[in-house]
């Protein structure tokens, strides 16, 4: 029988990739749990909307549900940058969960997304952001003058360490590393570094992550959401909660596989940073908070909570 609701769900990953399969799982789950009343068509990378277009496409209702990457929409929803995790933030899953559900991030984000016609569903956590370089980084001072492909907040963070952030299209990273246009690049996560073949042209991973964990939301078009009866709303929410759990367990596994794959291809880690280096790393992140709080009202609310939280620790 025909479904009552036909949804389109876009994500950033290619068909057949491990992450793609997890989103496919979410879609299947919604279909099964709703007993076929909601049918979800999954759209992978480049299938109808570009990666930075997912946010806008869900907003207008062109697609019903999306798994965007907030950094790509920093110009449309600045608070998303704080939500995903400013460089230097915590990677403790428990801390993140209290931050969102007990200390007040969730209502602020619901409002920020809601203002743009979006329903913000349970966020999920993806693994850390690391920077790969052509030469080993023996101390933080080695970052000075390095040209590193790092967009947005990550770029600002590296600039605070003395590096020169470079803007490049993702598909030019490989060639640019190989010819030396850039000396290093961040990847969304280790899996991204592996899939981009970066280790073929740059061997050294810096052990400290730029962000320990990335918090990503599932968003739904508001008017499509409002059309659902209460029971189906509950089902979609339940399915996203299951999805969040699956992202957590699986992405950890994939991250370690990706690291193993890259190590087999010759990946090496830069030496363990000194205590002073770790402190400098942290300080570079702290500077960013002021900057982002000043830019946007919602960001400020989130950062105020974060500051209060850190002061109590």
């Amino acid at each position: 029988h025909a479904a009552e609701y036909n949804w389109r769900f876009a994500n950033l990953y290619s068909r057949g990739t491990a992450f793609g399969a997890v989103y496919e799982g979410l879609a299947k789950n919604i279909e099964v749990m709703s007993n076929g009343r909601i049918k979800v068509q999954v759209l992978y990378s480049g299938e109808g909307v570009g990666s930075s277009g997912i946010f806008g496409a869900v907003k207008t209702g062109l697609i019903t549900m999306g798994a965007p990457f907030q950094s790509l929409n920093a110009g449309e929803l600045p608070a998303g940058i704080v939500e995903i995790g400013l460089p230097g933030g915590t990677n403790d899953v428990g801390d993140l969960s209290t931050l969102f559900y007990e200390k007040g991030w969730a209502p602020i984000l619901k409002k920020a997304y809601g203002e743009q016609g979006l329903v913000w569903l349970d966020p999920y956590i993806q693994p850390a952001v690391y920077v790969i370089t052509k030469k080993p980084i023996n101390s933080i001072a080695d970052f000075k003058g390095l040209k590193i492909r790092a967009p947005g907040a990550y770029g600002k963070f590296l600039r605070n360490l003395g590096a020169s952030p470079v803007s490049l299209a993702w598909s030019e990273i490989y060639t640019s590393l190989s010819t030396g246009v850039i000396d290093g690049s961040i990847g969304s996560n280790m899996i991204d570094h592996r899939d981009g073949n970066h280790v073929e042209v740059a061997k050294y991973m810096y052990p400290l992550p730029l962000a320990g964990a990335q918090v990503l939301p599932i968003i739904v078009n508001q008017s499509a959401w409002n059309k659902l009866p209460t029971d189906l709303k509950a089902i979609v929410k339940a399915a996203t909660a299951v999805h969040a759990q699956e992202q957590m367990t699986k992405s950890r596994l994939w991250e370690s596989q990706a690291v193993a794959d890259m190590e087999a291809k010759g990946l090496q880690w830069s030496p363990e940073p000194s205590a002073a280096d770790k402190a400098a790393w942290k300080a570079a992140g702290a500077k960013l908070m002021d900057e982002y709080a000043a830019q946007d009202e919602y960001s400020k609310e989130l950062i105020d909570i974060l500051r209060k939280d850190q002061a109590n620790d």
Partner: protein, 168 residues
């Protein structure tokens, strides 16, 4: 008007090339990449590409598949053009409408590019509205011209409006 904009756009070409070359210079020679060159280059690219559209239509330089088109009589060709210009006009008017919508949205939510430099987006959507609006006007004017030709067999406008610029 259309020709004036088309000509002005051509001055953006060398500027675009110099912006990109300047970024290469800053990065390679000074080891200090700019934050603005990437977005500026993309904006210039978009301005050139979009604003040139009406001028391209005026010169009838939009690419078409002219296999059957070249075999039919001139008046039949006018009929063909009238049909295809309506189809094109439909699309271009939608582009204009959606761009105006995006312009208002960009103003309301203060949309910017996602880069570190974070330049405003509103001017871009305004430019798109103007570019598609001009292209729509040009299409309407061409449609009227084709209609006149279909009915009378004569040209409405002197031929020298077109091909003022020789093609390479």
């Amino acid at each position: 008007m259309v020709a004036f904009i088309g000509k002005s756009v051509s001055y953006l070409m060398p500027i675009l090339a110099f912006v990109v070359a300047f970024e290469v210079f800053c990065r390679y020679v000074l080891s200090h990449p700019t934050v603005w060159a990437h977005d500026t280059a993309l904006f210039l690219f978009g301005y050139i590409a979009a604003l040139g559209g009406a001028y391209v239509q005026q010169q009838r330089a939009h690419i078409n598949v002219d296999i059957l088109y070249n075999k039919v009589s001139p008046r039949m060709r006018s009929l063909f053009n009238m049909v295809s210009f309506i189809l094109a006009l439909f699309f271009v008017l939608l582009v204009c409408k959606m761009s105006i919508g995006k312009f208002e949205e960009a103003l309301k939510f203060n949309y910017r590019r996602q880069s570190e430099w974070a330049p405003h987006m509103h001017h871009y959507w305004l430019m798109m509205s103007v570019a598609s609006g001009l292209l729509a006007l040009q299409l309407v004017s061409d449609w009227v011209e084709e209609c006149y030709h279909l009915l009378t067999g004569k040209q409405l406008l002197p031929e020298n409006i077109r091909h003022t610029e020789e093609h390479a």
